[in-house]
């Protein structure tokens, strides 16, 4: 397209749709002010930031904070733990809401369906502190889960003192907490599938499993792919809240992740630059993974974010 033509087109479009553009302005401003302007603060990852000197006034230190992080004795361990917890949640927690949505979708009674839905997404609204308190009570010696575990060879000590059990506890509680809530989006997608297809399938003699396999799942696929790609973009962001509420030094080996490590180190020591450097590192990795996942998905499934 040659330039003058595009310019004329633009002006015409701006004038013609001026009200639409005006309506868009607040949204644009929102993104500029709250999502793009703060990026300027990323500078402090390369500085020894002191609020009294301001972002520009603080001295440059190049990659000092990154080096400190990478050279830390525990860097590889926290990186490994973060990745493992993320990957395990991707494997086990990510499919859970899909399965739940499929199950709920097959339920015929409307009221039963509603009750099940409400019950399953309730845990999502419980505060993390309470959740962690419940988990600790259940897994301590004498707790419900601990007693069950003893049947399978547990020795009755707190399960949170066993480094091998931390990841299962974390992932299972994650499923319990989030599966119901996350299934909502899949249920919405399911509602959009043309009922005529099911009718046609039934006439062709497809059973319920066949229907799920050939109609429901393909219908859900674009949603699943999009959510999966988004998940990839969060791979290094294992929230520190739940971790620091559950872990203790005995299980650092498996439980200490980047964010909890940074919390102990950066935040409690008022080291803003360091936390930002780690945050920036996470973001770069996350963005790379996201682009990669998107690219692969575009090749393989033809659905992608952009």
């Amino acid at each position: 397209m040659n330039k003058p033509a595009f310019g004329r087109f633009l002006i015409k479009d701006l004038v013609g749709n001026r009200y639409l553009y005006i309506m868009m302005l607040p949204v644009l401003a929102y993104y500029l002010i709250f999502h793009y302007a703060p990026m300027y603060g990323v500078l402090i990852a390369f500085k020894d930031y002191s609020p009294m000197k301001g972002i520009l006034g603080s001295p440059w230190v190049d990659f000092k904070h990154f080096e400190t992080f990478f050279n830390s004795y525990y860097f590889l361990r926290v990186l490994k733990n973060t990745l493992l917890i993320s990957v395990y949640s991707l494997l086990f927690e990510f499919p859970a809401p899909i399965i739940l949505a499929l199950l709920i979708n097959e339920v015929r009674s409307r009221s039963y369906k509603r009750v099940v839905q409400s019950i399953t997404y309730m845990p999502y609204f419980i505060s993390m502190i309470v959740i962690a308190g419940l988990i600790r009570d259940f897994t301590d010696s004498g707790g419900v889960l601990n007693s069950i575990y003893m049947y399978f060879g547990g020795d009755g000590t707190s399960m949170l003192q066993n480094e091998g059990l931390f990841r299962p506890i974390y992932i299972l509680s994650e499923i319990w907490q989030k599966a119901g809530w996350e299934s909502i989006i899949y249920l919405a997608a399911l509602a959009g599938i043309d009922q005529g297809q099911y009718e046609a399938a039934r006439i062709d003699g497809a059973g319920r499993l066949k229907q799920i396999w050939h109609i429901t799942l393909p219908g859900l696929m674009p949603t699943i792919v999009i959510l999966f790609i988004l998940r990839m973009g969060n791979l290094l962001n294992v929230g520190f809240e739940k971790i620091i509420l559950l872990y203790n030094p005995v299980i650092y080996e498996t439980a200490d992740v980047i964010s909890s490590f940074v919390y102990r180190k950066g935040l409690l020591e008022f080291n803003w630059s360091y936390s930002t450097a780690v945050g920036l590192f996470n973001s770069v990795i996350n963005l790379t993974l996201l682009i990669l996942a998107n690219w692969i998905s575009k090749r393989v499934t033809n659905s992608s974010l952009w």
Binding site: A37, P38, S72, N248, E253, S275
Partner: protein, 549 residues
């Protein structure tokens, strides 16, 4: 795909994102903010006019002023805001200085302060543990958060100045190596106030089993065994394995080691590197195998401990006289009128020895000290207001509250707390009620009075426990309040973060049997590679500087 693109902008770890945004947003408009503050300062009327005539002399309270000071503090009481607490209302009246309070959510003072400092928008006064400010108090001054108070104390704080002149040892504590004063300190006015924590045992069980209060580690072992076998205690010994309790050295001290730093004849030592630490680990490991130590030891918190104790699962612990003996005794006696607790001496290896370590706060207890920020509009007023706490009237007010309300004077002119505090009709416990009317149980800018503790400790067992717990040599071994230089401090923090992770992990893993006792030696090798020798060097230099202050 607008929504998603928003998600991608930049996602930090949960912690970093909040701070980043805040930093950036606030700094974007910090230019104008800064100017406003300056303008404000310029147009402020000059301070308490009545004092201008004789700035160095005594001020007459209440001060005359039109200024309001902003005061940031964490203060947990039964009222929802600090402003509603009667103590603070009356404090403003007595000093004549109106205050506007800002307080962080309970238990989040460090996080909140962190964010507030990052914003650069500071109140006039901040009550915080400035001694433990990351990088040290000198850094807080150098970074421009708080003021060096030397000149101001000299001119406007006659009461504090007088106290420090009379107590040169305290004067040495509250300064940095450079001689800078940085806060209005909370000071313990008597050795009795410095000790409040130690081993606690079920006296009624001892009596029933015909046992004496144990002194040595061997006696402790036998006692715990008896508790387990004859009293059915599932967790005979249970206490919080947190730095607070480990660092105070119960049990560890018996082996000539410590979880933290200590000194021996002027030489700095790192406890976990002492050979005794390995012995401590193997002893506790043994106790755990025998079922004498709480199975959940890594997770024990206050709530779990209360439950263990009151359900007769635990017969011995380590806790404070107030929230240990004072809190458990009535709870235990509800079910069993014979239940009784006793404070035991800090255990030693051989009979007749005196424990090397024990809990003992320094006179200058660093938790609740008030600093004046660099943004303070009227420094003289702030100094005079804080100095009141060290005057005679202020001393009585901070420790005992208002005469006729929270205390009365007896025939010997001694203050006696009223029922409002000790037997509150609204059902508040003495410590809850005290928090509303006095600060003797919370700390603050004043000198704590012995007559508070003698009345607060209601049970004779509590007083007896204090006597047992003070019998240690901790004063010879505890490091004084040394201050590394800001550069050293950041190096130290860097190394110590990994060191603490390593030591915490090693301690619990060996005790819980996740690793053999001999793993200790490989941990020591790792400790060396983390640079522990450099930290010892820094600490030693800081101690030497302290001793030559």
């Amino acid at each position: 795909m607008k929504v998603q693109s928003g998600k991608f902008t930049i996602r930090y770890t949960a912690s970093a994102i909040a701070i980043m945004m805040l930093v950036a947003i606030l700094s974007a408009c910090s230019g104008s903010n800064g100017n406003e503050t300056n303008k404000g300062t310029a147009s402020q009327p000059s301070p308490a006019s009545s004092n201008n005539a004789a700035p160095a002399g005594e001020a007459s309270y209440p001060l005359q002023t039109t200024d309001t000071l902003t005061y940031w503090a964490e203060y947990n009481s039964s009222k929802s805001t600090i402003g509603e607490v009667p103590f603070f209302q009356e404090w403003q009246k007595r000093t004549g200085v109106p205050l506007r309070f800002i307080s962080p959510p309970s238990g989040q003072s460090t996080d909140s302060l962190n964010i507030m400092l990052a914003s650069g928008d500071l109140p006039d006064l901040i009550e915080y543990d400035w001694f433990n400010f990351p990088g040290g108090p000198e850094k807080a001054i150098a970074d421009g958060y708080i003021l060096r108070l030397n000149d101001y104390i000299d001119q406007f704080a006659p009461n504090l100045k007088k106290y420090l002149a009379e107590h040169p040892e305290v004067d040495k504590m509250i300064k940095t190596d450079n001689g800078s004063y940085y806060t209005f300190p909370f000071l313990r006015g008597d050795p009795m106030l410095q000790v409040y924590q130690g081993p606690i045992i079920r006296q009624d069980w001892l009596t029933e089993l015909g046992l004496e209060v144990p002194e040595t580690i061997a006696e402790w072992h036998d006692m715990l065994k008896a508790f387990k076998e004859k009293k059915g205690a599932e967790a005979p010994l249970s206490y919080m394995f947190s730095p607070e309790f480990l660092n105070n050295g119960a049990f560890i001290g018996a082996f000539g080691a410590s979880r933290t730093w200590f000194q021996q004849d002027g030489v700095v030592k790192y406890g976990p590197m002492e050979p005794g630490y390995k012995e401590f680990l193997s002893t506790f490991r043994q106790w755990r195998t025998e079922g004498l130590l709480d199975k959940n030891i890594a997770n024990v918190d206050g709530k779990a401990l209360d439950a263990n104790m009151t359900n007769n699962l635990t017969g011995a612990s380590v806790l404070n006289s107030g929230n240990g003996i004072g809190k458990w005794t009535p709870l235990l006696q509800e079910k069993n009128p014979n239940a009784k607790l006793v404070g035991a001496p800090y255990p030693v290896l051989n009979k007749g020895e005196v424990a090397m370590l024990g809990q003992k706060d320094p006179i200058y207890t660093t938790g609740t000290n008030v600093a004046i920020t660099s943004k303070a509009k009227n420094v003289e007023l702030a100094v005079r207001m804080l100095d009141w706490g060290y005057s005679e009237e202020g001393h009585m007010y901070f420790n005992f509250g208002q005469e006729g309300v929270s205390y009365t004077l007896d025939s010997n002119n001694q203050p006696i707390y009223t029922d409002l505090l000790l037997k509150n009709s609204e059902g508040l416990s003495p410590s809850q009620a005290m928090t509303l009317y006095i600060r003797a149980n919370y700390g603050g800018p004043f000198v704590q009075d012995k007559r508070y503790i003698t009345q607060y400790l209601a049970l004779p067992e509590q007083k007896a426990a204090l006597e047992q717990w003070t019998k240690t040599n901790v004063s010879d071994h505890k490091l004084p309040q040394i201050t590394p230089t800001p550069e050293e401090a950041s190096e130290l923090a860097q190394i110590m973060n990994d060191v603490n992770t390593l030591v915490d992990e090693m301690t619990l893993k060996i005790i819980l049997g996740n690793e053999p006792v001999d793993a200790y030696d490989s941990y020591m090798a790792k400790l060396k590679s983390l640079g522990i020798d450099r930290v010892i060097e820094i600490q030693q230099a800081a101690l030497d500087r302290y001793n030559s202050r």
